[in-house]
Each structure stands twice: as structure tokens, then as C-alpha cells.
Amino acid sequence: MDAMEVSGLVKKFNGFTAVDGVSFSVRTGELFGLLGPNGAGKSTTIYMLTTLLEPTAGSARVNGFDVHTQSDSVRGSIGIVFQDPTVDTRLSAYDNLDIHGRLYGMDAKLRKERIAEVLKLVELTEWQDKMVKTFSGGMRRRLEIARGLMHTPKILFLDEPTLGLDPQTRRHIWSYIEKLRKEGITIILTTHYLEEADFLCDRIAIIDHGKIKVLGEPKELKGALGGSIISVESREPQKLAALVMKMGCCKKPRIDELTVSFEAKDGGKLVPKVMEAAFGAGIEIESIEVHMPSLEDVFIHYTGSNIREEKSGGSEFTAMRRAHGH
């Protein structure tokens, strides 16, 4: 049985469609990534799957439970680490976990055991009695992860787990996620960091404007781009792009300021040909580079834009609340 089946999920806020017919399934034990820019609909999808928002249309089963009709069973069987901090800063780390355990119906003995286990996992044991308000951002995020795992959920949702953290802490969080993966827990992760998705996920779905553009293993997605990417820098990118098209190298080269990029099966062999043609046409080439497709190239290929170019007018959630009229 798949851990999760999502079919045709739609969420509209006052005419604004945040999620537009999303379907996918997540296999038990896999680390599944939803990759997309801010405002793509990732968090809204997570909110629907965790029963915090009612879908406008479509359905989803999580751990075999329907999110609409069996929301309590869904909530009891999943763990969530939200994008925004949700720990109580006026309680100690221990109390945050203890109250969480009580809310999930765990008995005293089990709570005590699990608190020790999860605190050890995120290396906060010696801080357990300190007020969370004294914690750094990275420590709080680790506590959130510990809390999400407290009741041994079958599926863990991680919504942008490393957002706003420094690179070192990010690596740290990644290593916890790796550890969890080895324990066989199913993880759904949203991120707008390409390297994070590439590094962690078994499979990823690229989501943009509320729709899934492509879904597959990172390796498979990169491989599908045709072997290599050639980037040519020139003072006359428009002319160069036209030339590349005329040569039949590619249908639609991408122009980013002075650089023209296109996908090619055998990039290395093509380089001299491009240089020769450019020389013949009197186009001066500044530099030329061949590289293996990265997840970023995959993203550009399917969405037509760079993930960092997307305008981020606050988080998706603030946009959602604005659309909601609050």
C-alpha cells in the first residue's frame, strides 16, 4: 500500500487558485520532495494533506485514511514540522514535548522514553529544561523536528525544514533527515532549495503555480534533459541564439542576460561546431561551458524560469491569508 494517494487536489481562496489539480502518490518508506518556488502551492498542499485546510476539490488518502472523512485518524498517524515556528517559547523543551505527547494520547511511561529518544536524536538533551525562548533558530527547528517525531508517526511532513537557517545548521538538519530515512519512516518534504531536494529526496515533484510539472527521481529527471547543457556567453546573445536554432542544435535556447544555454546530447562534440559557426557569422564568444544537467536545469526546463527569479512577496502563507481576506 502506498503511504499516500493524492488525486486532483484543488484549493481556491476567493478566486485565487493556490493548488490546481495536484495528483501523486508516495510510497511507504520513501523520501518524497515537493520542489517549487515560494507561492507555488507547496504549503497549501501540505495543509490539505494534514487536514488543516479543507480542499476545494479532489481527495487524498494518508496512511489509508481519507483526509476529509477521517481527519482525526489522519492527524493521529502523521507528524508535522511546519515552515513557521510553532513551539511554545514560554515552555521548556521538555514540556513542549510532554504536552505534545499528551495531546497525541501517549501514556506517561511512553512519553518519558520517547522524550529522551527524540531529544538525543536532535542533540538537545542537555537543554531540555531550558525555556525555548532562550533557544537559537536552529535549536528551535531541531526541537520542532523532535516534536514531530515524538509520537512515532508513520509519515512525517517537513515543510521547508531548513528555511532561513545558516548552511551549517542546514547540513545538520539534513543529517537528521538522513537518519530518519534509514529508520524507514515515510517523509514528505517541501523545499525551494534545489540542492536540498537533490541531496535528500528519492523522488521529487516539481510544482509551480499550483500544478505538478514533472515527477520522478532526481537522477532520472536530470538524465531526461539529454546529457549535457551548453552555456555560451556572448555580447550578442540574440544573434547567437538564432544561430544555434539555425544549426538545429535545439529548438528554444534560453537567454539569461549575456548567456545562451541549451540542452544537447553530446555537448563536448558540439562545442567546436558552435564556435566555428559563431566565428563564421562574426559573433564574438566570451566563454563557453559544458556541464551535466543539474536539478536547476530540470526546473528551468519544466517551468521556463529560474527558481530564484520568482518574486517572493512574503511566504505563500501570508499570500494565502491575504487572499483569504484577513
Partner: protein, 250 residues
């Protein structure tokens, strides 16, 4: 899903722990009621010879303490929304009624503790002697009903108004009128008619009247009316809070 006592207890525990974790707030929130009692009460007592005004307003000041603490506690759901903890609550496998009840009892517990501190200090300050243990139990029962009622009112307000910026507005538009347009500071039969009208429809007046009868033996309404209005208010507010909170979203 029904109400689960162990999860009600979890929510209650969180409220109480937060309260005991902030000792400075406990002390500072006692300042205003004590000032009212000492300065306002002392001043007016000197102005009206032969009338123990301080003793008269003690039940009013007690109600004021409960009013402030309870409504703030209920309304603090707005802060939970702002700082994220509300998501943790809403994502838990607990019914909305469970959350509302836990929250109500938790907020009420803190308000009752605050009230008891004021009651002890106030009786010493004003020389008020509570007639019997039965009277004391009656006072306690009314304090419980009043504080639960007001936390539930706070939850209703927090569920309706979602912006943290409106916090000050709530203070000015709800708490202050509830306090001043009541019999907390003045006897209802000596009020100008407009204030009398407002005070008579204010549920706080009935709780204050009940407390006053039990403390110093004077009152305007019948004790049963006082109890009836207070309990009725509690039931209505709890039902409304459950309904409105269940409509709330992250």
C-alpha cells in the same frame, strides 16, 4: 470526536505551566487591582464618611482581576496564531471542543489564582470578614463560573478577530466597558439612569452582586438571579466559543 479528559488536561497543563513560568507577570498583573482598591477605595472612603467604600468595591476589584486575566487568557489565542502554536493544537488528534474546554479551564485556573491572591490581600486591607466557610465556598464557586465565562468570551473574540494588532482595541472596547459599565465601583441604585441601564444588562454586574452579597451581605438583585445569569452566561459563551473556534483556521 468527543471530549477527551486526558487531552483537556494537556491543554490545561500548558496554560498553567505558561502562567507559573512567568512570575514577573503574575506580580505585575496584581498591581492595578491593588492600586484601585487602595487609592480609589481609600480616597472615596474618606470622602463618604460612614460608608466602607473599600469593602464595597472589594468584590468589584475581585471581578476586575478575574475579568482582565480571563479575557486576556482567552484572547491570547490570537498570539498563538501569530506565533504558530495554534497550528500545533489544531494539528493534534483532539476535537475542537476538547481544545476549547482545556483552554477555558486553564485560563480560568490562572484567573482564580490571581483572584484568590487579591481576595486574601483585599480582605486584609479592607478589614472584610467573610461570614462563614459556606460563604467562602459560594464565593469560590462564583469565581469559577465567572472566570470560565470570561475565558470563553475571550475565545469567541479571538476566533472572530484574527489580527494581533486589534489586541489593544479589545482592551478598550470590551474589557474597559465591561468593567466601568457595571456595579463594580458604584451601587447600581445610586447611578444615573443611563449607567443603570447599561449596568443592568452587563453580566459582570450580576457576578459582582453575588460576590458582594456573599462577602459583605449587601446587594441589589436576588442571589439566585445572580447565579442564574452567571451560569447562563457561561453556558452560552462556551457553546459560542466551541462553535466559533471550530470555524477558525490556521
Amino acid at each position: 470526536m468527543a471530549i477527551e479528559p486526558s487531552k483537556v488536561y494537556a491543554v490545561w497543563l500548558r496554560e498553567v505551566k505558561r502562567y507559573t513560568n512567568s512570575k514577573s507577570r503574575i506580580v505585575s498583573s496584581l498591581g492595578m487591582p491593588l492600586l484601585f482598591l487602595a487609592a480609589l477605595g481609600g480616597g472615596f472612603s474618606a470622602l463618604v464618611p460612614g460608608f466602607n467604600y473599600q469593602g464595597f468595591i472589594l468584590p468589584g476589584i475581585l471581578a476586575m482581576t478575574i475579568l482582565f486575566t480571563s479575557i486576556f487568557s482567552g484572547v491570547s489565542i490570537i498570539w498563538d496564531r501569530e506565533f504558530g502554536f495554534l497550528k500545533e493544537m489544531l494539528a493534534a488528534p483532539a476535537s475542537r471542543q476538547t481544545l476549547v474546554l482545556g483552554r477555558t479551564l486553564g485560563g480560568a485556573t490562572t484567573a482564580i489564582i490571581q483572584g484568590l491572591i487579591i481576595l486574601v490581600l483585599g480582605t486584609i486591607l479592607t478589614g472584610t470578614q467573610i461570614p462563614s466557610v459556606a460563604h467562602m465556598l459560594g464565593i469560590l464557586a462564583l469565581m469559577v463560573v465567572l472566570s470560565c465565562f470570561l475565558v470563553a468570551v475571550g475565545i469567541c473574540v479571538a476566533s472572530l478577530i484574527q489580527e494581533a494588532e486589534t489586541f489593544q482595541l479589545i482592551m478598550n472596547l470590551i474589557i474597559m466597558p465591561l468593567f466601568f459599565f457595571s456595579n463594580a465601583l458604584f451601587p447600581i441604585d445610586k447611578m444615573p439612569s443611563w449607567l443603570q441601564a447599561l449596568s443592568s444588562v452587563n453580566p459582570i454586574s450580576y457576578a459582582v452582586d453575588g460576590l458582594r452579597q456573599l462577602m459583605i451581605g449587601t446587594g441589589t438583585f436576588s442571589l439566585w438571579l445572580d447565579v442564574g445569569v452567571s451560569v447562563g452566561g457561561l453556558v452560552v459563551a462556551l457553546v459560542a466559543a466551541s462553535y466559533l473556534f471550530s470555524k477558525t483556521s490556521i
